[in-house]
Symmetry: C2
């Protein structure tokens, strides 16, 4: 009989995605299969919950293969999430002492944290504290974010599913916008405050060349209302119904968010009372200047939790990625994230490798400038070649009463 | 060889739905199969387009079985739509004379119009004019509306798919809202200005008793902010994350739309600048009064065009309904709509019958009072029993490059 190394604990952190639970399933499955890990604990509400000892023995909840299949198909953090920024331990190590006492209490040997760049900061700090104090615990980061803005990884789990949802919805909105025989501008607001990966995925909606979306405004490029108006007029020369995909995070050349006037409740730049986010702002501007029908649509949270439309590629990769994290831990790695590496473009093929977490934590990856069109209102074919493999494949969902069934941690237990 | 009766013309009118093209496919298929109808023409942009002779021979575009399968799976009006209110022909029959000259020019014997209560007004007026002038043309209405507000029909095609989308999305938003360990109110704005059928469908999102949505506010009941606050406090006694489903059309007891202050750009009732529709209004109110995390989400047009999540029952019924319209026409009926009749509750079973269009045109069906809960913030189990069969079944979509493929009428042709 193999000697057990100790127990493992897994947490989820930051904003939810549609496949963050597939990563959890991957870690859980590999940990159980390893034969070297005892109990697999889940932190309820991330590291914040861990510090309050809100822990579950995952084996009590993930009992069957069907449970795990359902887990992979359930969007948003099964274990709950948190947004906790740890202090620098060189300045204040109180929280670290408490945490490491709990690690000892629960005989934790492996710590897995599924999250984005902020969550990787937690992994980085805990692992560096462990190294300094000589604790033999492996801290492994598992990537997660719809924003796709993590460095040192080809892409992030969650992005492919969000992109599939955005592109599908954009294509459907295009059909809807073409119903009437009149000129129209439909502005669609997409998540991503600083990095434009999600907004760029709108380009995948095109069934053939010349299809909508017609204009794509990314946060990587400064936004000008004059240029926007010129862009609209140019598109109207060839079609009646314009679809604009716009990032919530677009900024004018002075660096101010275009939607900043909104949050403050001020009048917008045209002296109108503000009627919503940046989509409504762009729609209202077009209505004012071009006297056409307009509509603003904010895709909102369904972008990150549309479990009914996940990318099969994304889900399967997330499971494998979670498994790879366990492998790296068992190899004794710590302070690393299980990154995606694109080993082949044609056919598309991914491998996982451990990357030092210092190169990832608290940093953001933007769309390369050469993947943005010359007139800064679209993406290039290179972006499409990069992103298209990530949205491939559909998952067989488990339906009950006409709706996708979800696996829910009974909240009354905690 | 059967003698042909003449040609048929089909139009789509009013707001799009996810299965309005399945109705079109049904009419087309039955017309071709009848052996009694010559050419099947499509009006591009409804009756308005017909009057400008913007017509297509549908046989040139719907050539294969695959074309028709794709048509059924493509949301929003394939032929384009219009919103045209005909004058009373007793007062002004100019447009009628023009129309009937065109009917003669194109040898039209059958006229099918797919639409809601406004579109049924067109069918009613044309058929009554034909009767008065002795023209032997059959005018048949084919129901369509996500709002489910047509009288004399058990339900309308398009409603089941919209309800499936709304319930699925609500369930996903519920998962998302539970991520953090704090009190939250998420208000979700749903279409339906006067009738609450779509908002009520949010109730289908519940996987088990006590699940979200926790409060459902229908336009059938007058809305009070004091009661809303009391309702929230009551739900907070048993759970941390509240989901509110609210109709865009809720009104206060004085009959004014709660969101009226929005459109006018005025400050809202709390002296704040308005930040969007009724969902944001309810979210902001909760944030102000209860100091909790809040979010407003407007489901917006994806409710009516989410072709990727249509109800199989809805799609198949729409095809059969379109076929029944042709049958009624061939039986010589005119001035009727092909209505849905629920002939059995268990098992759920539907038949189609022709109903006089006067009983439908320009009228709206509301949710029966007995299907609304005693405290006016939910629906009863009877509503759920009524609505659940309509969202059953999933359609095998045709995917290409990771997205549902759509059939698009080449716009450059018209």
């Amino acid at each position: 009989m193999t000697k057990l190394h100790g127990n493992a604990v897994i947490g989820q952190s930051g904003g939810p995605t549609a496949v963050i639970n597939a990563s959890l399933a991957g870690v859980y499955l590999a940990a159980k299969a390893s034969g070297k890990i005892g109990t697999v604990l889940g932190m309820v509400n991330g590291f914040e919950g861990f510090l309050s000892e809100r822990l579950v023995n995952l084996g009590n909840y993930l009992k069957t293969g069907e449970d795990l299949e359902q887990l992979c198909r359930t969007p948003a953090s099964y274990l709950g999430s948190c947004r906790l920024k740890l202090p620098d331990w060189k300045e204040n190590d109180k929280i670290y002492q408490e945490a490491f006492e709990l690690f000892e209490k629960y005989d934790i040997r492996y710590f897995f944290y599924i999250g984005g760049n902020d969550s990787m900061d937690t992994v980085m700090k805990l692992s560096s504290y462990a190294k300094k104090t000589g604790k033999e615990i492996c801290f492994i980061g598992v990537p997660k974010t719809i924003d796709n803005d993590l460095l040192a990884t080809d892409h992030t789990p969650g992005y492919g599913s969000a992109a599939k949802y955005i592109a599908t919805t954009l294509r459907e909105i295009t059909r809807d916008s073409q119903a009437y025989f009149l000129n129209s501008v439909t502005a669609v607001e997409i998540m991503g405050r600083n990095a434009g990966w999600l907004t760029a995925s709108a380009a995948l909606a095109r069934q053939k060349e010349g299809d909508s979306p017609d204009l794509i405004y990314l946060p990587e490029c400064s936004f000008s209302f004059e240029q926007y108006l010129a862009d609209l007029k140019k598109v109207f020369q060839r079609k009646k119904n314009i679809i604009v995909a716009v990032s919530e995070g677009i900024r004018t050349s002075d660096g101010k968010y275009v939607c900043e006037s909104v949050a403050s409740g001020k009048e917008d730049v045209f002296g109108h009372k503000y009627l919503g986010g940046v989509a409504n702002l762009l729609a209202n501007y077009a209505a004012e200047k071009l006297s056409c029908k307009t509509r603003g649509i904010e895709l909102n949270v369904p972008q990150r939790c549309a479990g009914h439309l996940i990318s099969k590629t994304d889900m399967e990769e997330a499971v494998e990625n979670g498994k790879s994290a366990v492998q790296f831990a068992l190899e004794g790695r710590t302070g690393v994230m299980a990154a995606y590496e694109r080993v082949s473009m044609e056919p598309y093929q991914i491998a996982f490798s451990p990357v030092e977490i210092e190169s990832i934590a608290n940093r953001e990856k933007m769309i390369p400038s050469e993947w943005i069109s010359g007139d800064r209102n679209d993406v290039t074919e290179e972006f499409v070649r990069y992103a298209r493999p990530l949205i491939q494949g559909e998952v067989d969902l488990i339906y009950e009463n006409g709706l996708p069934k979800q696996l829910v941690l009974p909240r009354e237990d905690f």
